[in-house]
Every structure is written in C-alpha cells, then in structure tokens.
C-alpha cells in the first residue's frame, strides 16, 4: 500500500500511527520476518526496516548491538532487500520505510539503491546521517523513483531550519524527541511535547516522534500533544535480546507491547481530539 494512502486511512480512522523500527537480520533473518509479522498483527501501521550498518552513530547501545549481531551473521544490504521482497511475496501490505546510514546507498549508487528498494517493495527511506544540506541527490532521485525521503527534526533545530525542512518534507517528518541517540527511555521529556508544538506550527505533514518511546503512556502523550504517531525501536529489541538463543519465545511479550503502544496511539488521538474540540 502507498505510504500516503496509509497515512490518510489512519487519519480517517482517527488513530495515532505506530511505526516499530527493527534491524533486519538480528539475530537472524527468519526472526526478523516473524517479528515484523507479529508487530503488524498487533498494531503496527508502518514498519521502519533497518539495514544494519557497521557504525550507526545515531543509535544507542541496543541498536548498536543489533547491528553488530546482524553483521556478524553475514547480513548484507542485498540480503536485506531480499528480505523486503520476501515480506511482499508473503503478502505484507504494510508500508515499509527503509532506514540506513548514508554510506550504504552511497557505495551502491543512490539511484540504483533507491530503484532496488522501490522494486523490492519499500515506500520511503530514512537516512539518519543525511541532513537537508546533503540531501539533494537523494531527494531528486527519490522523487523520480517514488521513494519518500523522510526528514528528521530535532530539539536543536531552529526556526530557520524547521522552515527549510518542513518545506521539502514528504511522507512524514520524523521528530527526534530528545537530544541523544536511539534507545528506550523511562520517562518522556517535557521538551518532546514542546517540540511537537513547535514543528506543528510549520507543517501539516504527519509527525512521527521517535527516540526513547517505550511505553503506552509515551505514545498517548505525544499523540495527544499533536503528533501523528510514534516510532518505537529499541524497546522491542530490548525484549528479544534477553533471549537471543530462542528469540521467538519473546514474540508474545513483543505482541503485548505492540498492542499497548497502538492502544496508546489510539487513546492519544482521542485525547487530542478532546483537547482540540
């Protein structure tokens, strides 16, 4: 399904959006496929599909370990793209947003890379180390090929940059909720809610908030504050990394968290509507 259609559909359903983030191949390919299935069946609306990179500088310890494990197992970008194909072959309809660091598409060639992921069945791409200043090639090629470049904004982003980023954003905007790296955090920062407000002033593009979201309450809070949804990554990885020998055994627990997050997204939206009546 097309990303914009899906976002529209969720908007109509008056639900906050839930995008889990996984790193493909951690601890093995099969598990990731099962994990994505579980997540989708339990309330994931989009999937952020991570292609592991050796030096994930925007990621905290949980995802660093995830990348390292996957790479040790021999995962390559080509195998990841094959994974996307498999998901689509198995009938997955959920939009897939590929995440990877810039060197991965760079060495393949930006156009070739985007074409490949498009053909495999992805809808968009997130490149955490690609600020707007360096995004021209990827934006241009993405537009031609039909892959959204999902841009990020952060608490440090000032007015001028917010305007610049929101002006060219397509698909949705990834709102980095905290100063720092990915990783489940206990509490939601107050500043996260302020940031949502600040970004909202510049754009109607959907806002998904990530970095640190790990609980239903977090999801509810950010959606009620005006975000369109949340990205939850390390919180899921933290569950299965406790049982890397048989990660499948942790899928029920993951399913439960996914349901809760989605519930938070729904409740948050309800709250948002009440607040903005």
């Amino acid at each position: 399904m097309d990303l914009e259609e899906k976002l529209l559909e969720l908007e109509k359903r008056r639900e906050g959006i839930h995008m889990p983030h996984v790193y493909y191949g951690d601890p093995n390919k099969d598990f990731t496929l099962k994990l994505i299935k579980t997540l989708v069946e339990n309330g994931a609306d989009l999937i952020e599909f991570g292609i592991p990179f050796s030096d994930p500088t925007a990621d905290g310890p949980t995802f660093q370990a995830a990348c390292e494990r996957a790479l040790k197992k021999g995962i390559t970008p080509a195998k990841c793209i094959q994974g996307i194909r498999n998901l689509r072959k198995n009938g997955l309809e959920t939009p897939l947003i590929v995440t990877t660091y810039y060197n991965i598409p760079y060495v393949t060639g930006i156009r070739a890379f985007l074409k490949e992921i498009k053909k495999a069945g992805a809808q968009a791409i997130i490149v955490p180390d690609l600020p707007v200043e360096e995004a021209d090639t990827l934006l241009d090629e993405g537009k031609k090929i039909g892959i959204h470049l999902i841009l990020q904004v952060a608490p440090t982003t000032n007015k001028e940059r917010l305007k610049k980023i929101t002006d060219i954003a397509s698909g949705f905007i990834y709102v980095i909720g905290v100063e720092g790296v990915t990783g489940a955090r206990e509490n939601l920062a107050n500043s996260t809610l302020k940031l949502i407000n600040r970004v909202r002033r510049y754009t109607d593009v959907p806002l998904l908030v990530g970095f640190g979201i790990s609980k239903k309450e977090h999801a509810a809070a950010v959606v009620s504050a005006g975000a369109n949804g949340v990205v939850v990554g390390s919180a899921y990885a933290k569950i299965y990394e406790k049982n890397l020998e048989k990660p499948e055994e942790t899928l029920p627990e993951i399913a439960q968290l996914a349901k809760q997050i989605k519930q938070g997204c729904i409740e948050g939206y309800r709250q948002y509507l009440m607040n903005n009546r």
């Binding site: 925007a58 790479l71 060197n103 991965i104 982003t157 940059r161």
Partner: protein, 400 residues
C-alpha cells in the same frame, strides 16, 4: 562560487573535490553551523590571534625547531631536517589544534569539552587546553587503546579528565569517535566536540587544518633561513591527516615540493591487517564526511589495524583524500616491523625516541633512500615523542 584555500580548489563549502560534507544527524547540524560561524567570527580577530599565538608560544613552546639531523642524514644519504613537534608541550602536534578549539569553545560560551583519543596524545592535549580555559573534559577512548597507551591514560586522569572507556566494536579509535558523536548529540548546546584530526563533518577538517598549519608556516620560514630555498620533499605520517596537512598546506602551491603521506601499513596489506586506507579503501561516508575509507564491498566500514594507535583509523580526512586523489600528495605506507626498527635507528643516530606514528615517516625514508638524491633537502614532520609507546617498544626489542 570558486574559492582557493592555500592552493586547494574549494568548489563547495566544506568540500575538497568530492570529499567532505556534513553527514550528521539533524541534531548536530545547528552545532556545526554555530561552530562555523564562531570560527569565522573569532578566528580572524586580533584578540583571538593574540591569545592563541601567545599560548602557542609560551605554553606550547612554539616555534618548534627545525633540526638538521646530521647523523641520520649520513645514514640515509639526503639532507634530513626534523620538524620537532615532539617538543611541543604534551609531546605531539596535537596541542596546536586543542588550544585553538578550546579557546573557540570558551568564546562560544561552552562549558565542557568532549573528544576521542587513540594514542592519547589528543586526549592529553584536550585536557591540558581544557584546564587552561576552565572547561570540563571527557575523553572517550577505546578499551584496546587504553591498554596499549596506558601511560597517557594516567596522564589524562591525573590532569583531571573524565575518561570513558569505549567497549563497542574493536575498542579502538573508530568506535571512540562514534561514541563521542553520540554523546555530542546529547549535549551539543553546552559542550564542544574538540575534534582531534582533520576528519568529521565540516567545519572540523578546515578548522583543524587551519590550527595545525602553523607547522608548515614555520617550516617555510625556517628552511628558507637555513637553506635559502624550499625543501625537495616533506614527509608526514597520518590517519586523519592533521599533522600532514599542517605541514603540507603552505606548500601545496609550490609544485616542486614533493609531499609524502605515510599511513599505517600494519602487519601486511593482507585482509584486515592494515590501516592503509589509500591502498585498500575507497570513497565512503563515515563520521560525518565523505572520504577515503576502509570498507567491504557492501559499504560496511572495516576496522583498521596497526601497532600505532594514532594511525589506527579506517578513514582519511577529506582534504588529504582529495590531495592524494589528485596526485599532489603521494600516498605511501610502511609496515609495523619497519616502524619498530626505525624507532631504534632514530634512537641511536639522534638520541630521540619517536612516537610509533612518527616512526612511520622515518621508516619510509629508511626503506626508500633511493628515491631521494644526495643533495636533496627532505623534511620529516616529527609529529611526536615515544614516551607513550615506551612499553610497546621495549617489549618489541627486549621481550615482555
């Protein structure tokens, strides 16, 4: 817009040919922009220059001498001068940059410095500069490097730095840079990342090269005074390239001056035994910049390997990447074994114990004597002293 900075064509801000750029998360972009503005605002002012130059002179010990190494010259057959950065306070060229950036951080109102270090020389320089300006310092260092450069860890600790061991990856420089970038993402509004070499996103490569180019400026004056002419060749070791660019930059336009950049060959050029990114790498994006970098065919960065902790980085800074690509600088390497032997030669001929990094240029000259004619004037950028490597060197020659 076309700019010429010391002979290098700059087509786009922060780019050297295709190399460079600002490949960082949005979180850090405002800090980079702020830094660039601050550098452009403060650096040219007489106040900044006054304070900076007087610290370089009185604290650092600049100008460092250009020493005609008579005994060593007799051995290799050309006329060898050593640019004595080993005499700089702290024992390497790193202080030139650390003082400059710390002063800048102070002017920007930052209260804290973070950085990574491999050989420990840059970490040391950073805490020295931090103490002078009353800035807290936190140093990220790979656990493997902490072990092999233990004496510098002690020095930094004694000077009051917080030292954070980096266990991820191979526990070496690459991993420490990653972790410092991560930490910076959490504190960039109050904290300056005092980048240690001519790597990382713009404006770091330019700032670091600018602060380090005092080396080459002095070399030019000194060699003109001593020889009445420019040198035939300048050799510098490097990974990121800060001491090399520092020495080379004022000579880029002097096409007759041959420039040699010696990287860490490690054990061999075989798989995963080397740090020779110009031999084994290709262009890629790491730590915020497009540069020559060791990587596999899929774009995964490969760990480098050399006994010299300070050369053990898979990337070559954007500017040195460009200069080697265009052929203005010759990219060379030497192997660990030659490097240790070179240490001994310098000890015996001139009474100086070089850092393992520095010993790479010595080794290169020793094993390529035939490239340099009898009357040729050759300058080795003698980037640091070997105190930090004493244990490793002793173990190499005399066993454990």
């Amino acid at each position: 817009m076309e700019l010429r900075s010391e002979g290098v064509l700059v087509l786009r801000k922060g780019r050297f040919g295709k190399y460079g750029g600002q490949y960082v998360n949005e979180i850090l972009m405002p800090a980079l922009i702020e830094l660039e503005e601050a550098f452009n605002r403060y650096y040219p002012t007489p106040e900044f220059q006054g304070e900076f130059q007087s610290l370089l002179r009185d604290y650092g010990g600049r100008p460092t001498p250009l020493y005609y190494a008579k005994n060593f010259s007799e051995l290799v057959g050309c006329k060898v001068y050593l640019k004595r950065e080993d005499l700089l306070c702290g024992g390497s060229h790193k202080l030139n940059n650390a003082l400059g950036q710390a002063l800048l951080a102070k002017k920007m109102g930052k209260t804290r410095l973070i950085t990574e270090t491999a050989a420990g020389q840059h970490g040391l320089a950073t805490v020295m500069a931090g103490n002078i300006f009353g800035l807290e310092t936190e140093i990220f260092m790979g656990v493997k490097d902490m072990e092999r450069q233990a004496s510098n860890v002690k020095r930094m600790k004694l000077l009051g730095a917080k030292i954070t061991p980096v266990k991820s990856g191979a526990g070496v420089l690459k991993d420490a840079v990653s972790d410092t970038l991560r930490e910076w993402a959490a504190c960039s509004q109050t904290t300056h990342y005092l980048m240690g070499s001519t790597v990382g996103p713009h404006p770091f490569p330019t700032i670091v090269a600018t602060f380090q180019s005092v080396i080459g400026i002095e070399i030019k004056q000194q060699i003109l005074k001593k020889e009445g002419r420019l040198p035939d060749a300048i050799l510098a070791c490097g990974s990121g390239g800060s001491n090399a660019l520092g020495a080379f930059k004022p000579f880029i336009g002097n096409k007759d001056v041959k420039l040699y950049f010696v990287e860490g060959g490690g054990e061999s050029l075989g798989a995963d035994n080397s740090a020779a990114a110009f031999q084994l790498g290709k262009p890629g994006v790491l730590h915020g910049a497009l540069m020559q970098v060791l990587q596999d065919e899929h774009g995964q960065i490969k760990p480098s390997k050399t006994r010299a902790a300070g050369l053990n980085y898979p990337g070559r800074g954007p500017e040195i990447s460009y200069l080697c690509e265009t052929g203005r600088v010759n990219a060379c390497y030497t192997f660990d074994k030659e490097v240790f032997e070179a240490v001994k030669v310098m000890c015996r001929t001139e009474g100086l114990i070089p850092a393992l990094e520095t010993a790479h240029v010595i080794a290169y000259l020793l094993s390529h004597r035939e490239e340099f004619g009898r009357g040729e004037v050759v300058i080795l950028n003698y980037s640091g002293r070997g105190d930090k490597d004493l244990k490793a060197i002793m173990r190499y020659f005399y066993g454990p």
